[in-house]
Symmetry: D2
Subunit: 433 residues, 4 copies
């Protein structure tokens, strides 16, 4: 976790105090269930809740762990210090450390997913607002970095919206993947604890009981979770790359917002660099890098080995914190992105009329010229624009082979921008409903 | 694609003939829609269907492509040779190559997903059958590779079943991700073609129209698809690793089926190696390796660049073919896996009674011994078994501190295997309904 | 392996005939060594060489393998058919299949490395030629995609040359990593074969004897090999991205060579797309994706498991074939790249004089203006250029605070391009010696 | 960075104080060089060294950065506070932030590499000591997890030694890759600073001047560096997996050292889990995951974009800290690994004599029995051992077809363990010289 790329809410999920709080809740709910089943005295279960509003002493727990070399035992010892050794004697009965640890990890991931969903919602809102704002702002569409046909800036935002809306749906799925809990004992047989304890604890904590666990909750769930975050990160990169392209000096169709007091570079004060989207490009790589180790974590030996644990200690916080930060940074960039419609028009007209060649080609074909001949006619006039800076329409009007097939009015009509934007509303209706 | 790791049905999806057949269908349906809209003559649309049952001449298409350096043009030229130049003149009108190529890729991936679902179903059937067969076959559960508590072989199969059932649901989602089509033109504006053409073609081909495309269908869809395959592969590895462990000489709780005539090794004729599951471990790595490039494919420049194409030419066929093969290989391994229940018992009793230590610990606690004392008592007797090969129960019965808390009958009861298997039916009900 | 992305020389290395030829040579040399040691009769060793010029019957070997399910045994059986069962009886004596297979793989990888080195040499030659050709072709240097200070096209080529020269050195190291052989028996103890056989075979085949092997040659070597290929691929991507940027419509400082007859797009005949470098970007992803499975292949169980094998069957050929093709494609692109120096100048002057701001800032500081004031002065004039299209030099000359510190002549001097190119020869001397 | 997986020495390299110290040294040496060239006054250069022994006020620098939003400017401002605004006026003259930042990163990585080399040396020393200690400790070699032929524990350690020695050599190469510095200005042309400044600074700091840089040092160097760390991590995993296998209950040929007071599990006190090597398996995944983003960092746009920066902020510290910790943890595990030679013998004899089958097969062939018949004879007796627990030698002596070819003495001789260990000294000489 890099402080400069983190937001407090997400960081809080991964702090020791939060973790111990969740451990406590699991243990306390488990005691309730055990008491209801008559396994332990009700008084002992009730006593546990004395720690309900206590701030756990993280330093003290660390101190105990330094001796016991076991984190859960250290916590339980500290808990007993709070509620009394005698009252605490039935806490954790029949449970295994992993029952607590794995259920806790999933609660943390589910909460992280909730924050990520909020981040996605902010991104979606920003994209939608900018899409409608620039629904009719014409710019050139590009394939291969080369001018193709006109499109609108609104369509660009709309397609990012659609992509992020898909990511939202994926994240909802991914959250469901890891929102399970397990209190099933050392190898998952419930030998020492009734399955109804698991059911109660999960119900209280908003989890689904893991249908079949071993000592651990199966890691294909977490693999799917992190794989989904990797996809979302790639979409962030997708938007970031678009903006970086738009901001490059020769294009300059948009710029990240640049506050008046901000210094761009120590050496080149005129520079306004797209550093936020460049940063997002890097953050996307960081989020994505967790996918492979998460996949490698699936194949644990027999009922569990602990190789996954160190991986998750790192990628659990780091990946969610980084993605959370990236989503909000992206939202901010989109919300405040400075758009230059006039530059968009200027760029589009760089090769006068050339982007209309497809229309002309089509018109020639429809006028009865063979496909091969149409292509040849369009290409030879296009090359004059390309090589000599001629005006495409002028050249076409002067080409007798062209005018033999198309009247001047028909040629003129091919250069109408409205032709290209006529279905924007249809597409918006598909995307925004 | 490695021939020895491929099945014909999946290979067929990726063959040129199949690809051209899908291209043809897209073009023909598009002509129908264009004719219905009055854009092209009905007769021309009908003429296209003359090629309905034709086997396309792949060599001829390659020959044309060598000249035109453009695959779709080469195909259209060949198609015109079949249905007549005049009849063919309206084919592909208003469309862009990518309309055909991207829609085709998604159809291939959707068909591939269908085969993979069939493969998963075979795996699921095998796992379920073996789970019920060995529901009560007791074996030792292991954490960290170390004996923990008893479980059953049926539970092992059942958890793999649950994992693969999750994978099935994920693959259904992933299939939906890529089952879209686009006929939206050079930059996705439908400038030259009515959106209703896309709708008709998609409806005919079982696809959802892509709500908003550029020149291409957005690649976050494909990223999600391949990420999902990567998760499935990791689950295959998970099962493979379990079997490899079970087959190792010192464990020998199961073996891959070894046909009477099969030679294990040229040098060591007694060897029966788990080569199929080792192979599956490697194949899982191959499937997984497509995830990162699929994620890197998402951020295309502006309305498209073609960097994704070479990646997909490789991972499209290779990954689906490998995973398809792996699923069926896995199914075969599970179906025919030779289980050795007697070795399971022998292994469990390697350290006489030690695996029951958790139960004794719990019983001591419940009998009023403090948690720390209970732990100490159990540990000191356990160490005698570990270090001197003593019998755990015998030692406990001879330990006055233990017998002060537990009667001989109570100690005896702790060594009842039924204690560990009492919830197997509950778990099976959760998994298999 | 995708035929369109492959070159015959590299493909040939991975063909069955080549593989069998190498197997034969290993066996034949091993027999020579065994005979020299008196382990087998000299006549039998000599007899093996009867197959020296034979083209092996791949179909026949496949046929035998279908029965024996063992590739090396199938080959040895076929070899016996050629040289006579009696003469062949000592072939492979004391050896293990892996002795043959692993040594063969390394020979193939070493040969592949030789071809890759040749490809790198072609790339290096092209980069060097273009570097000298455009040593003094001024263009704007860009950071963050934003104009920074002038540089030259020659420096761009020179830095790619330096990068590829590093890659060449890395590949030489990587080749040495895998140019080892092992004839050490079932677990690497030489129990059944004298270490001098390994020494002889390796000497004959240009390999170093693996100092200590198990059944296999250790896979950290191959991991390092493929990791190195991944780095080379990333450098290819680096060059490809530069060219794609240069070719985008608004920049147009260079274009991939476009042969007169070539069609760019079926729909937009004016388009000249950087499809080769886009393709290289994708191929780089394909090469890189082999790195992770190669790393995962290192940790084999005990003296070997065969999980690495399927991985290597794929990435051995695929990765080397793809990289080989990519290197030659890249060389071709560089060799024929069309450079537009006039567009470079035009782009540089897009914001008149602004790129000289760093020099002015420095001059102000040196003239005694504080760092903060200098920055402020430069920034306020720069903003006029940026926002109103003013000329930077004109603005500076009209700013009394600036002219209080710098004379008009001093200001003029700051706009001399030669200032920026004065060390080009020094840098070239560093790079090209 | 996870505190529990870190060592203070490596952490210190990445602390702000260290970073600012290096920034200071670069600036101070640069001033010296500038003064020597007559560009700035000698007195100003000397004045900078007033900060030589100062502990920089990190909080103050952060405070300034909060305003300037630029880390290098913040540091320079703070430096001026220390040495005086007037004295500081020539600091950083002609330089770009990246000159400082990139050179600093490389110094940090080089220092990290030195610590990693020390870690490798400790691992090598441990492996060598244990190799000689157990040079003749016989254990069964295994392929596919199945018993193959005898080897020795010393050979296992020796091969890990050889692998780690290769890693050491690779790391020396990787260190050289990144031990370069650049003081070349905004786009690498040395427009504002003489190349001799770079030469002086690099010489003082133990770096090689980067032959050609842009605004940044080329990232193929860093890619190669992290790729090398990934290979080392995979070798750590390789050793960890071996030990985990040796410790599993059924094998128990070795155990991680278990201190008398240590608790293995809260639930199963008899358990001694290989948690350190399982942890190393996970840490290996963490180190490896940096390879892909480091490869993705190579292709920066034009003379630089800053996408690599966030990646390096994470993987720079995290990967070196994790690997450093892992190397020392591994060294500790190897140093204290408890070896059980008696269990090795017991395991080897699990299938009485079966591991000698290869020798018998060879002897039969040499005695004139055909390869096929020999195989058949060995296999049929081997199967009796496998299926009925018979003794292999006894069965052979009772098989008339076998005794027709081999005398009882010849058969007896095949079961001599010395046969398998006779070349151990030869191999040790190869590995340890």
């Amino acid at each position: 976790m890099i402080p400069r790329y983190s937001r407090p809410d997400m960081v809080a999920i991964w702090e020791p105090q939060t973790r111990f709080r969740i451990w406590f809740e699991i243990e306390a709910h488990a005691c309730d269930a055990q008491a209801a089943l008559g396994v332990i005295p009700k008084a002992n279960a009730e006593a546990v809740w004395k720690a309900r509003d206590v701030t756990f002493d993280v330093a003290r727990i660390d101190e105990i762990e330094a001796v016991t070399k076991h984190d859960v035992i250290a916590f339980l010892t500290h808990l007993a210090e709070i509620i009394g050794n005698d009252e605490a004697r039935f806490v954790h009965q029949g449970m295994t450390s992993s029952d607590v640890l794995d259920t806790t990890l999933n609660i943390q991931l589910a909460r992280a997913a909730d924050l990520l969903l909020a981040g996605l919602d902010r991104v979606l809102a920003a994209l939608k607002a900018r899409a409608f704002e620039h629904k009719d702002t014409v710019r050139i569409g590009r394939s291969h970095g080369i001018h193709a046909e006109p499109t609108t800036m609104g369509l660009t935002f709309a397609r990012f919206y659609a992509e992020m809306a898909r990511n939202r749906a994926r994240l909802v799925n991914a959250r469901a993947e890891i929102a399970t809990g397990a209190i099933s004992g050392a190898v998952g047989t419930f030998a020492n604890i009734d399955p109804r304890v698991e059911e109660h604890v999960c119900a209280q904590l908003g989890l689904i009981p893991e249908p079949i666990s071993t000592q651990v909750i199966p890691r294909d769930r977490h693999a799917m979770f992190f794989a989904t975050l990797g996809v979302i990160a790639s979409s962030i990169e997708n938007i970031a790359i678009e903006i970086r392209h738009m901001q490059r000096t020769e294009v300059l169709e948009a710029e990240e917002f640049f506050s008046p007091g901000q210094k761009g570079s120590s050496a080149m004060p005129h520079k306004r660099n797209p550093v936020l989207t460049e940063n997002l490009t890097g953050l996307a790589r960081l989020v994505r890098m967790s996918v492979t180790p998460a996949l490698e974590n699936v194949a644990l030996w027999h009922e569990r080995d602990i190789s996954h644990s160190s991986v998750e200690r790192a990628i659990g916080p780091d990946t969610t914190i980084t993605l959370d930060f990236a989503l909000h940074r992206l939202a901010g960039v989109v919300e405040k992105l400075v758009i230059y419609p006039e530059n968009m028009l200027k760029n589009m007209n760089k090769f006068k009329g050339l982007v209309m060649s497809q229309r002309v080609l089509l018109a020639l074909t429809q006028a009865g010229v063979s496909r091969e001949d149409s292509y040849r006619l369009v290409q030879r006039n296009a090359m004059k624009v390309w090589e000599k800076g001629a005006d495409f329409k002028t050249e076409l009007l002067a080409d007798p082979e062209v005018t033999a097939a198309l009247s001047p009015a028909e040629i003129e009509e091919k250069f109408d921008l409205g032709y290209h934007t006529k279905h924007v509303d249809t597409i918006f209706a598909r995307v925004f409903g």
